[in-house]
């Protein structure tokens, strides 16, 4: 037996396997007491989800208006984000080269993208962390926006614009991979996976919408657990606080 909702065919199972419908108020009452513990939800991550929703909305609006080359998907980030990523990476690479010329100076290590607050502004570790947080925040916004687009013809333009945006994030990702931030095995693995998916999204852009291509990208994201890993690396609120500095 099936019933229908908006685009969903609900499977209610086969009516042939009928079980006797014996009223048992005691069992029903017991079950009502047990049911709330099944898949008991944790606290709703309101703020983190709202940030992601806004990022997707802004990206979608900018894509529709053809402004994607200037898109700033995280509301508080605005124009500061691309400049901060580029500046942090360039400055960080410069400092790194300087440190190479001084034997005994330890290279910066980034286990994940932690909060940059409370550290010296000239600390190279902080610059790499800032760059990592910014790039991963951009990546999360991009992937969330990507998920919100479909394969219909009207989304072809949005896919094209996502590809342009994807190139910007890919450039930042590759700069990070070549920086000491890429020395951290965990972050490096994440950046490698991100690079692969970004390359797929970029390749998709400009082509006619294709369900198979999207399925491959979706699968790559899912198999690599990409969004959850990015979200773990960029704790809620860090991106905003980093960009506000």
């Amino acid at each position: 037996m099936t019933d229908h909702t908006d685009g969903v065919n609900l499977d209610f199972g086969d009516d042939d396997d009928e079980v006797p419908h014996v009223d048992d108020p005691q069992f029903d009452a017991w079950l009502l007491g047990q049911a709330p513990a099944l898949n008991s939800p944790p606290v709703t991550p309101r703020l983190a989800m709202w940030d992601a929703i806004q990022a997707a909305q802004l990206a979608s609006a900018d894509a529709s208006a053809g402004r994607i080359t200037d898109v700033r998907p995280l509301r508080r980030v605005r124009w500061f984000l691309p400049a901060a990523v580029a500046a942090a990476l360039l400055l960080g690479i410069g400092i790194d080269r300087y440190s190479f010329s001084r034997p005994g100076q330890p290279l910066a290590k980034v286990a994940k993208a932690p909060t940059p607050s409370g550290q010296n502004a000239n600390d190279p570790n902080k610059l790499y962390r800032l760059a990592a947080v910014q790039t991963l925040s951009q990546a999360e916004a991009l992937l969330t926006a990507y998920r919100a687009t479909g394969t219909s013809a009207q989304n072809a333009a949005a896919t094209l614009q996502l590809g342009i945006w994807g190139r910007q994030v890919l450039n930042s990702t590759r700069l990070l991979m070549d920086s000491p931030a890429g020395d951290d095995p965990q972050l490096r693995a994440l950046l490698n996976d991100l690079e692969l998916v970004l390359a797929q999204i970029i390749r998709l852009s400009g082509a006619p919408p294709d369900t198979t291509d999207r399925q491959l990208i979706d699968r790559a994201m899912r198999d690599r657990d990409l969004l959850p890993r990015i979200q773990t690396a960029v704790p809620a609120g860090i991106a905003g606080s980093a960009s506000d500095e």
């Binding site: 019933d3 909702t5 908006d6 499977d11 513990a37 099944l38 939800p41 709703t44 959850p228």
Partner: protein, 195 residues
């Protein structure tokens, strides 16, 4: 379904406030969208988590629900309450994703048991807890969804019917059928619910 005549004054006032918020949101008022989000996000997220059993997936599905809802807000005509409309989108997004994952899992590996039981379950017998979780997971998808919405989240049959696009009678029948199947599956533990 609620009608104007069956509404309490409080409920009617709440719906009027929601209508006003939706109208502002339709005109692009971001604060109205935020207010609608704050009003409904808990229930949407909890439902997504109940159905999927996965925190990250529930988060993604909740985000997708609101992104889609806000994108298609212009098409919302107010025939149902905003909450009902939102739950329809949420269930469509969630069940489609679960179907897709089930198809994929069937191709690649045995299905994971998506159900877990909190340690705080009133019944302390871990064997029974696991058996109940397994029995619920084994219910047909629609039956399980109705059971989780009604018994775990407290939705009414009218709300379930609207969200799933079925009749309230179907919802009641599926709940009854689901409970019967669970009772059968847990028969050996009958002393747990008998006085």
């Amino acid at each position: 379904m609620e009608t104007e005549t069956t509404l309490t004054p409080e409920r009617a006032s709440l719906l009027a406030t929601q209508r006003a918020l939706v109208e502002r949101a339709q005109r692009g008022d971001a604060s109205a969208q935020r207010a609608l989000y704050e009003t409904h996000v808990d229930r949407i997220y909890r439902l997504a988590f109940r159905v999927t059993g996965r925190e990250q997936l529930a988060r993604e599905l909740t985000q997708d629900t609101f992104v889609r809802a806000f994108a298609s807000l212009a098409g919302y005509r107010g025939e149902a309450s905003f909450g009902t409309w939102l739950h329809t989108i949420a269930m469509s997004v969630t069940l489609n994703e679960m179907k897709r994952r089930k198809r994929q899992a069937a191709r690649e590996a045995p299905l994971e048991d998506a159900l877990t039981v909190a340690r705080s379950a009133p019944e302390s017998d871990p064997v029974l807890r696991d058996r109940l979780a397994a029995a619920v997971a084994a219910l047909p998808e629609g039956c399980r969804t109705v059971f989780m919405m009604h018994d775990a989240e407290g939705f009414t049959h009218e709300e379930i019917a609207a969200a799933l696009g079925v009749t309230a009678g179907t919802s009641k029948a599926q709940l009854s059928r689901g409970r019967a199947k669970l009772r059968l599956a847990l028969a050996e533990f009958a002393e747990e619910w008998k006085p």
